[in-house]
């Protein structure tokens, strides 16, 4: 009989779950757990500089590996600092387990020092959360927490453990299966009539488009999607979180759709007679004005979460289920078709878009952000894991880094959390030690979590950091330029000297202001065995094109002005 303390049970359980790394920050009420940690050397603890960073790192680890990420914090401010990271994971269906200390059970509710009702606070932003009040329930709760985090549509789970529960003892038994209350509904089996109807709709369609999202990645349906598109010759448009689930270089790939999507992808969606949505949720950034969204298209929605069906867009045929399972069953039922006229039409739109591409701009002294990202893509041959921040840098990355591999892009899509990139990249690097990991961040977002530079140095981690520095909170500035008469309220931002900042952390860095220095800087970073930071001083008032203004029709795009040929 193995009697353990609650603190030991936490680590024993993490070992059983195969956890190799946790991201955390110690404090009063989680001290027993930190004390016990020293006896579990198989799990590496990464000391973040802020609990938000720890949570993003767990998230980045989860997204890079497909496994559950783990973050640990103390009660009160430690726990509330996790809130942004938890909400980020919730909106992007990322599986993380957050373990928080809590004040002793005898003083709960008394406003004790560093007490906060964290299960109450995180109730609406977790997939589920628990407060464990008896040590006997601890192992089973952690077992269940990991199960809930990764099953179905994944998400964050928080386990709050009062200090006395960590100190109490009981026999450690890790259940083989989670002791979830029996649920009536078995996982949905897709009725064959639905599949037959879908196949019929697909064979009748003349202008179909597949809309692929994060769900394809989560279910591991990438290869099935390629087979499906190849067989049916249906072009594939991607959501932001879907980038990489279908190779960008595939002839049927339309790239990203939506607010900053490719103009031809949006046109294809608006002109389509059939949309086949796979593992995506018709987010407002994807649809624009719902009243005019793909008006002529019938819609098939392949989705694992029933609450996403008909939430935003009325669908003609919902198919509940895992993307892999549904595509696997649908594949033999669909017929091949050349769809030449449709491809020709899309190709024509593509040509028109190409004429506006900023990459065609003449060589000049200044740096164009899109060109920096394009160079990054070329030099890394599209094989890096890029962790982007939020804003213009994120959209330029999405447009100009052509992702061919799944999990090649990690970014905060749903919540749009500035400051995500650096800590998430730390997590991603722990998940993929062999991979080349690049942080792409703006000067604003980078400053939100730049304290994590110290974390990565303490871990002697090799990252590559590209700051797209334009001296503005660029995306907000762009909105002010387009919609607020260029009144730049609070968007000019002074940054520290990032080269000196890196130097203060013992991190090599260089500043790049000329186009000819971009590629050598990227190559130098790649060749260095240690982290290198590059401060790219780019044109200050460049905008992300095309842009569908919030709430506007998807075909109503602000386009980059065509420059007269010289």
């Amino acid at each position: 009989m193995a009697v353990k303390t609650g603190a030991q049970i936490i680590w024993e359980s993490l070992v059983k779950e195969g956890v190799e790394v946790v991201f955390g920050y110690p404090g009063g009420t989680i001290l027993p757990t930190y004390d016990a940690m020293l006896d579990y050397p198989s799990i590496h603890h990464v000391l973040a500089r802020h609990e938000q960073g720890a949570t993003h790192a767990a998230d980045g680890y989860a997204r890079a590996s497909g496994k559950v990420g783990v973050a640990i914090a103390t009660s009160g401010p430690g726990a509330t600092n996790m809130v942004t990271g938890i909400a980020t994971a919730q909106l992007d269906s990322s599986p993380i387990v957050c373990i928080t200390g809590q004040v002793g059970t005898t003083v709960i509710g008394s406003d004790a020092f560093q007490e906060v009702d964290i299960t109450g606070v995180t109730l609406p932003i977790t997939k589920h959360n628990y407060m464990v009040t008896r040590v006997q329930d601890l192992a089973g709760t952690i077992r269940e927490a990991f199960h809930v985090a990764r099953e179905g549509r994944p998400g964050p789970v928080l386990v709050d453990v009062p200090k006395d529960v960590q100190n109490s003892k009981c026999e450690f038994v890790y259940p083989d299966t989670p002791i979830l209350y029996p649920r009536r509904r078995a996982p949905a089996q897709t009725p064959s009539e639905q599949l037959a109807r879908a196949a019929e709709m697909i064979s009748k369609a003349e202008r179909p488009v597949i809309l692929a999202g994060h769900g394809v990645l989560i279910s591991g349906a990438m290869q099935k999607l390629i087979e499906f598109a190849d067989k049916t010759q249906i072009p594939v448009a991607l959501t932001l979180l879907g980038l990489g689930v279908f190779p960008r270089q595939h002839p049927l790939c339309l790239g990203m759709m939506g607010m900053h999507g490719e103009a031809y992808a949006n046109r294809a969606v608006q002109s389509a007679d059939l949309l086949i949505a796979v593992g995506m949720r018709f987010d407002d950034r994807v649809t624009g004005n719902l009243k005019t969204y793909a008006k002529h298209a019938k819609k098939i929605h392949i989705e694992i979460d029933p609450s996403e069906i008909a939430k935003n867009v009325r669908v003609d045929l919902p198919i509940l289920g895992d993307a892999y399972g549904v595509l696997d069953q649908l594949l033999p039922l669909v017929t091949s078709a050349p769809r030449e006229a449709w491809h020709a039409q899309i190709h024509e739109w593509q040509m028109e878009t190409g004429a506006r591409d900023v990459l065609r701009k003449e060589e000049g002294d200044g740096l164009i952000p899109a060109q920096v990202i394009h160079s990054l893509w070329q030099v890394t041959e599209g094989n890096a894991i890029v962790v982007s921040d939020v804003g213009q840098n994120q959209m330029w990355e999405a447009q100009y880094y052509r992702h061919d591999i799944p999990r090649g892009l990690i970014t905060s899509g749903g919540l749009g959390t500035m400051g995500f990139a650096l800590p998430a990249a730390i997590g991603a690097k722990f998940a993929r030690r062999d991979a080349e990991v690049w942080v792409v961040a703006g000067d604003g977002g980078f400053q939100m979590t730049q304290a994590e530079l110290a974390t990565l140095q303490q871990e002697r981690l090799k990252l590559n950091i590209a700051i797209i520095n334009n001296g503005f909170l660029g995306m907000v500035r762009q909105w002010q330029e387009f919609f607020y008469g260029r009144r730049y309220a609070a968007t000019p931002i002074l940054s520290p000297d990032f080269v000196k900042l890196a130097d203060a952390h013992g991190i090599a860095a260089r500043r790049v202001t000329r186009r000819e220095d971009v590629v050598p800087a990227i190559e130098a970073a790649r060749q260095s065995a240690e982290t290198m930071l590059i401060d790219f001083r780019v044109e200050q008032e460049d905008a992300v094109y095309p842009m569908v203004p919030a709430g506007a029709d998807l075909h109503d795009m602000i386009r980059r002005p065509v420059e007269p040929a010289k």
Partner: protein, 167 residues
């Protein structure tokens, strides 16, 4: 139009909070919500009336099923269902009016459960229409106080919902 959902939930702390939080954050319009024990000690039962003018009942159902503590949800609107609501109504009445009020209550199968010098409490159980009918008649006499439990619902016949995965 109203839809009636019956939800079986685990009897654990905070479950009502989770359900209420869901309705609030999704901006679901809920007419009434009752919660009570069932024949199984670990399971509570909620009856939820959804105002379908503003809220799609299937979205309420799907979102409820996402809560880990929710065992089952059934939309019983289209099924033959017994619906009951209990009301306690305190009405102004002097002793000379007692007989008349008693008669009125009996017509609606209600009964007087408390008598004071200037008021009585009537207890009535029934569906919404029946209680509204009695209230309409009592209103001119002066309703001093009223409390209603909200609707509870159970499907007629041999089918049953329980917490063991059977239906």
């Amino acid at each position: 139009m109203k839809h009636t959902l019956v939800a079986l939930v685990e009897d654990k702390p905070g479950v009502l909070n989770r359900v209420a939080s869901l309705f609030r954050r999704r901006a679901f319009n809920i007419e009434s919500l009752t919660v009570g024990r069932t024949h199984e000690p670990a399971v509570s039962r909620m009856t939820i009336l959804v105002d379908t003018e503003q809220t799609a009942p299937n979205l309420v159902e799907a979102n409820l099923m996402k809560l880990i503590n929710v065992v089952d949800v059934q939309d019983v609107t289209a099924l033959p269902t017994v619906m009951r609501d209990l009301a306690l109504i305190k009405v102004k009445a002097n002793t000379s009016q007692l007989a008349e009020i008693n008669q009125l209550a009996e017509i609606f199968r209600g009964k007087i459960v408390d008598v004071a010098s200037d008021s009585v409490i009537i207890e009535i159980t029934g569906d919404e229409d029946k209680i509204s009918g009695l209230l309409d008649l009592l209103r001119p006499r002066g309703i001093l106080e009223m409390v209603r439990t909200g609707q509870v619902a159970m499907v007629r016949g041999s089918t049953h919902q329980d917490g063991n995965g059977h239906n």
